[in-house]
């Protein structure tokens, strides 16, 4: 009996996720073998299509570890894309200046939300719900028309192919084709690793875990709870904006309905990856797997071809429910022990 207790239930949840991902992927390779699911490029596309989501899920993990939540990210991404489009296409700003401006907006957004949540002690849900509506509305204020981005510098950054000289396949003309990724993937993975180190090995990161575990005792330990919470939301706004830029590099456009339901994908990614809704527990690499599971489901549905894209959302909702229920059961078992 003691052995079972030794296995950390949280690690167990993460293990389930990783096993689930590989089972799903291998199943896909078998079912959709003819359509070429087994190609390495399909695997890399999981990252290419979800670079923005990976960054946002990482930041969501951090916010959820401290016991908060941010449901404004989807709208913030839409607003970022729209601002990028508006600045570059209508105001003739340069690509770099526009991106810096968007990051600045993200920090402002995060500071306002952080101030209201930490210093005025308002529920994070209410504030970020307001943030969600504000962002979506602002997107419409900037423009209700779709803006396609054709800025040369931006396109060059977004679409620079980085080939990986491994696992090449011959195409029809007998030319060797190597799988490739875009710079956005590298940025996303670098941020993932940086956030892992920050959360695990810095004072700031350890305070986040402590506050999420028990705010009262963290305060008694002498941690500045309000300040830490504030900076978590500021960092969250900043990372969400990076995510927005990466997302924009994938879609190359800004429009009002963009990234709708993104917050749910990010929360699902974090929860599936083993982050507890109650706070205090979580791992950014788990969230990476959570995002990849979502990507795999998306690929399934596009390979299958006839199912409506709404099924992605419904499947994710079901998976999220499954993991939430699992968490809740583990919590109850723990409480009994």
């Amino acid at each position: 009996m003691k052995k079972f207790k030794d296995i950390d239930t949280n690690k167990f949840l993460l293990a389930i996720t990783i096993v689930m991902f590989f089972v799903m992927y291998i199943a896909g390779m078998i079912i959709f073998n003819k359509q070429g699911f087994a190609k390495p490029q399909v695997f890399l596309n999981l990252f290419v299509n979800n670079a923005g989501l990976i960054v946002i899920a990482t930041s969501m993990t951090m916010v959820m570890i401290i016991g908060g939540i941010d449901i404004s990210v989807g709208s913030l991404v839409a607003m970022d894309c729209m601002i990028l489009g508006d600045l570059m296409m209508n105001k003739n700003w340069g690509a770099w200046a526009s991106m810096l401006f968007v990051l600045f907006i993200g920090i402002i957004y995060g500071s306002v939300q952080g101030f209201l949540i930490s210093y005025l002690n308002i529920q994070p849900f209410i504030i970020t719900l307001a943030g969600m509506f504000f962002g979506r509305g602002m997107t419409a204020v900037i423009s209700t028309q779709m803006i396609s981005i054709t800025n040369e510098t931006f396109s060059a950054i977004a679409q620079k192919k980085i080939t990986i000289p491994l696992f090449g396949t011959m195409n029809k003309h007998g030319k060797m084709m190597y799988p490739f990724i875009y710079p956005s993937v590298i940025i996303a993975l670098v941020i993932l690793v940086v956030m892992f180190v920050v959360l695990k090995y810095t004072k700031f990161g350890r305070s986040i875990y402590a506050i999420g575990g028990n705010e009262q005792s963290a305060m008694l330990m002498g941690l500045n709870v309000k300040k830490t919470k504030f900076f978590v939301y500021v960092l969250d706004g900043f990372l969400a904006s990076i995510g927005g830029i990466l997302f924009c590099m994938n879609t190359m456009a800004g429009f009002v309905e963009q990234a709708k339901g993104f917050e749910m994908d990010a929360i699902a990614g974090a929860v599936i990856g083993g982050t507890l809704l109650t706070g205090g527990v979580g791992n950014v690499f788990g969230s990476l797997f959570g995002c990849m599971i979502r990507g795999t489901i998306e690929s399934f549905i596009s390979f299958q071809g006839t199912l409506s894209s709404w099924w992605v959302r419904i499947t994710i909702a079901l998976l999220l429910t499954f993991f939430i229920v699992l968490q809740s059961i583990f919590q109850k078992v723990k409480a009994k022990n």
Binding site: L120, F133, V141, W310, A317
Partner: protein
Amino acid sequence: MNNKGFSLKDLTKKRLFMPIACLVVVLLINLIKTPDFFNISINNGVLYGYIIDVINRGSELAILAIGMTLVASSSGGTDISVGAIAAVAAAVITNILSGGTDSVSEFHAPLAVAILAGLLVAVLCGMWNGFLVASLKIQPMVATLILYTAGRGIAQLITRGQITYIRVDAYKVIGSQFGHNPVPAPIYVAIFMIVVAALFLKYTAFGLYVQTVGINAKAARLVGLNPVKIQFLCYMICGLMAGIAGVIYSSRIYSCDANNIGLNVEMDAILAVALGGNSLAGGKFSLPGSLIGAYTIQALTTSLYAMGVSSDQLPVYKAIVVVIIVSLQSPELYKLIKHHKKTGAEKKNLIKEAVQS
């Protein structure tokens, strides 16, 4: 000086002062900006005018606010899936009536059966939320976020991604008018629901139970209440209210547009509850407050439309209003202001001392 026992301070302390004051402010601004705001005329046998529009369009919101008040009070959270539930209910109803086609001019099934089925599905959605929140103890917003995003997908699947039209006069009744009665029908539905809710809360102890659970669930359990059951019931009622709102929405446009029915309405409902002076953290609630809040929000929406704000941009203003309201409700704000005043005064004293010496 104030022998009559009536002072401004006492007045501002009243629970309903905030919502009524907000309503008055919104109406006053309208009176100045659009002078014909209070004009009422009869067009084609229906009452017509901005103010009628507010009461008419506010019906769904008032109905939703009833459910949202109970949810907020009992669980200290809000149900953000109400708009999606309304869409699902509407999709079920139109799909049963149309028999699976996109546009019909006669019912394929009895109207009552379809509406009952739609409401049943809405109640099921509410029970799902209630199960997650009450039994599994998941934060209300995460639990309802699932239906918030998946709900519209489900509604799309039911309608097969099409807008289903029901071109039958009997279906338009609830959304337009009863016979030749000039008062729009949704107003009657809202009044009916409000009266039922008020009587239910007045003559049963349910309202008291809800507040007890919201203030302290553990204590409620110790005095013999079942918090799980009560929270579950609240979410179920909220689902039912969303379903009824869905019926009205759908009847107004005699169709089901799964993407747009009840869009952004969850924000309005939450705003109505907050504006009504109810704490979103649970506990005591006031139904009249929420209802006044609901009509205030609708007045705000209508006046913004009258000023030429597009529906896509509306959320910006509402988000700002909600942030202001919850900030004003936060006790921390007053502490911060006090602290600032104090430190300011201390600094002044220091300067005085420095000048004197």
